[in-house]
């Protein structure tokens, strides 16, 4: 088991948002977590990545059999967890390639693998950028600064490609994307999908799942998973709306 969440209760600013969440993920799987606004989707993403504003009240999260909640956010990242942000942060004055090389080398260092010098890394980066159809013009630009919404999301997937996570959490990666950008992002994710990693797609809409086919769909409402199924569940949701699930769970 790559990730095991047991009866997780968590929240922010003293407000409990996740109220007993259970989830199990194996390598090679893609899980979609769907749910209406306020159901706790983003909280789950942030808790897994270790955002300091979110607090875990009770429950357990095991990652590769170890207690994930004990690790600092940067340790989690070096251990292979990656969160693609819903709202990627701009980092003025730091170029994309500087940033990515630092992040890549920190991970390599952690795993005792060889670090790359700027020239070697540039070749590596160029190769990875093809996955999301990004030109090398983006390497020199400051991280996300002045990027369009679509470019920011592509940049997140580029980071995912560079860091090659074992568990990638894509938080509303489809939001704010036009159809072309959505296709590029989704195709990028599909190329990165492998038997050695797992992906959690956090999304409000079924649209993304037309492009990235999940193995499992979980519906989150009121801080718990209220319905689970295969990809057909997403289609059913799209037709009937979230009220259907909410009504069914009451």
């Amino acid at each position: 088991m790559l990730l095991e969440i047991k009866d997780l209760h968590a929240g922010i600013e003293g407000k409990e948002i996740l109220k007993g969440l259970n989830l199990q993920i194996k390598k090679g799987e893609v899980h979609a977590i769907m749910g209406p606004n306020g159901s706790g989707k983003s909280t789950l993403s942030k808790v897994l990545a270790g955002h300091p504003s979110y607090e875990v009240i009770s429950g357990e999260v095991l990652y590769e059999g170890k207690n994930l909640l004990e690790l600092e956010p940067d340790e989690r990242a070096r251990e292979g967890i990656f969160l693609a942000f819903q709202y990627p942060v701009e980092v003025p004055g730091v170029s994309n390639s500087q940033f990515l090389r630092l992040a890549y080398n920190e991970k390599m260092k952690h795993h005792g693998t060889e670090e790359l010098d700027p020239l070697e890394f540039n070749d590596y980066l160029k190769e990875k950028a093809k996955i999301v159809e990004m030109s090398s013009e983006f390497f020199k630009r400051s991280v996300n600064e002045g990027f369009s919404g679509g470019e920011k999301k592509r940049n997140e997937i580029l980071q995912m490609a560079v860091l090659a996570p074992t568990l990638a959490i894509l938080d509303e990666t489809d939001s704010g994307l036009d159809i072309d950008a959505l296709r590029i992002v989704a195709e990028g994710v599909n190329k990165l999908r492998s038997a050695d990693n797992a992906i959690i797609l956090v999304t409000h809409y079924q649209r993304l799942l037309n492009y990235i086919e999940p193995d499992f769909v979980h519906v989150l409402a009121g801080g718990r998973i209220v319905k689970e199924g295969g990809k057909e569940l997403a289609i059913e949701l799209e037709e009937k709306g979230y009220d259907w699930v909410k009504a069914a769970t009451k």
Partner: protein
């Protein structure tokens, strides 16, 4: 009582330098007037509104040996334009000023940057004065560099005249020793269609003060007055500026950033005046500060005084710490907290460093920034 002390320190030296100098009488008169102003007013104190946050008392108590190279000093009637009556420092400066005059001839484009480097020796007081005249249609870059060894005083000034359609880029880098005192004044006068672009970097000195006075005197000028102060230990750096729109259709941009660590202290006071007939003015002013320690402190006061309705003006100042969300973003990519903080700080300063077009200065600053952060970012 205090006046008497000051006199004993500077008066003899002044008389001697005046007697030795082979200068025109008008200049000797001007110097005497300036010294008389100094004798009468003394050094500014914290009771003076313009020196409220910067205590120069330490300087007034110290004795320095006047470093004077009068024999090589040049003269120019433009010295008469220098406003020595701003305070005791500007008056003392003019009394002892070593003058260098540089003229960039009409319609000439000078490729190689003109460099003015000053190094203060231990225990000396230095009064370099540079006059730069960028004649009509000329184009040039000047680099003003200050270094020092040990405890010293630099009390410098630069007068800059950017004439019709001239284009001047100005880099000022102050990286004096951590024990030295640096007082600098820059006066800029802009003419029709002229363009002035300055970057003022303050890295060194125990106590530094830089006054910038820029004035548009004919319509259609544009100026950038940007700066970066990077302070640690118990350094104190003060920037005071006035940007004076006295005529229509001029544009000014001011962007100063500060990174303060340890117990350092920064002061930014920027006044932008838009006078009654300065319609069509576009003036932007920003001062952002990043505090890396709880003991660091900044007093910032951006001020706009507008006496005309037909203008576009904006100003703002921030004092803060690194953004939590930015930090988390970097952590979530596997950067350690120290590395993430350093990278964000580096990025904060880079906005100013990045606009520098001369690779050698840019590299020097990049290194200085990284050095200050004590960081190896592998960049």
């Amino acid at each position: 009582m205090t006046l008497a002390v000051k006199e004993t320190i500077y008066k003899q030296d002044f008389q001697a330098s005046l007697e030795n100098a082979s200068e025109p009488q008008w200049l000797k008169d001007l110097r005497e007037k300036a010294f008389a102003y100094f004798t009468e007013n003394g050094f500014p104190t914290v009771r003076d509104e313009e020196w409220k946050y910067t205590n120069a008392a330490e300087i007034s108590k110290l004795e320095f040996q006047i470093s004077n190279e009068q024999s090589e000093s040049q003269t120019s009637e433009l010295l008469k334009d220098f406003n020595f009556e701003r305070n005791g420092f500007t008056a003392l400066h003019l009394a002892f000023a070593d003058v260098v005059l540089v003229t960039i001839p009409k319609e000439t484009s000078v490729e190689k940057p003109l460099e003015f480097s000053f190094k203060a020796d231990e225990g000396t007081a230095n009064f370099p004065h540079v006059i730069v005249v960028a004649e009509a249609g000329s184009k040039a870059t000047i680099i003003e560099n200050y270094e020092s060894a040990g405890k010293s005083l630099t009390n410098s000034a630069m007068q800059i005249f950017v004439e019709d359609n001239a284009h001047l880029t100005h880099y000022r880098v102050q990286s004096e020793s951590a024990e030295s005192y640096h007082i600098g004044t820059t006066e800029i006068t802009l003419k029709r269609g002229s363009f002035y672009n300055s970057t003022n970097i303050n890295l060194g000195a125990r106590l530094s003060r830089h006054d910038v006075h820029l004035k548009f005197t004919v319509p259609g000028g544009e100026a950038f007055v940007d700066g970066l102060y990077l302070l640690n230990g118990s350094q104190h750096a003060d920037t005071h500026s006035t940007i004076d729109h006295t005529v229509p259709n001029c544009t000014s941009h001011q962007n100063y950033k500060g990174v303060l660590n340890d117990r350092s202290r920064g002061v930014f006071n920027g006044k932008v005046f838009v006078r009654e007939n300065a319609s069509g003015t576009d003036a932007q002013q920003s001062n952002k500060n990043l505090l890396l320690s709880n003991d660091a402190r900044v007093d910032t006061k951006p001020q706009l005084e507008i006496y005309n309705d037909d203008v576009k003006c904006a100003h703002g100042a921030t004092v803060g710490q690194l953004e939590e969300e930015e930090l988390f973003y970097l952590l979530s990519r596997g950067l350690s907290e120290t590395l993430a903080r350093n990278l964000l700080t580096y990025g904060f300063a880079e906005e100013i460093v990045n606009k520098i077009e001369i690779e050698s200065i840019k590299k020097q600053l990049d290194e200085a920034v990284l050095n200050r952060l004590n960081a190896n970012l592998g960049i």
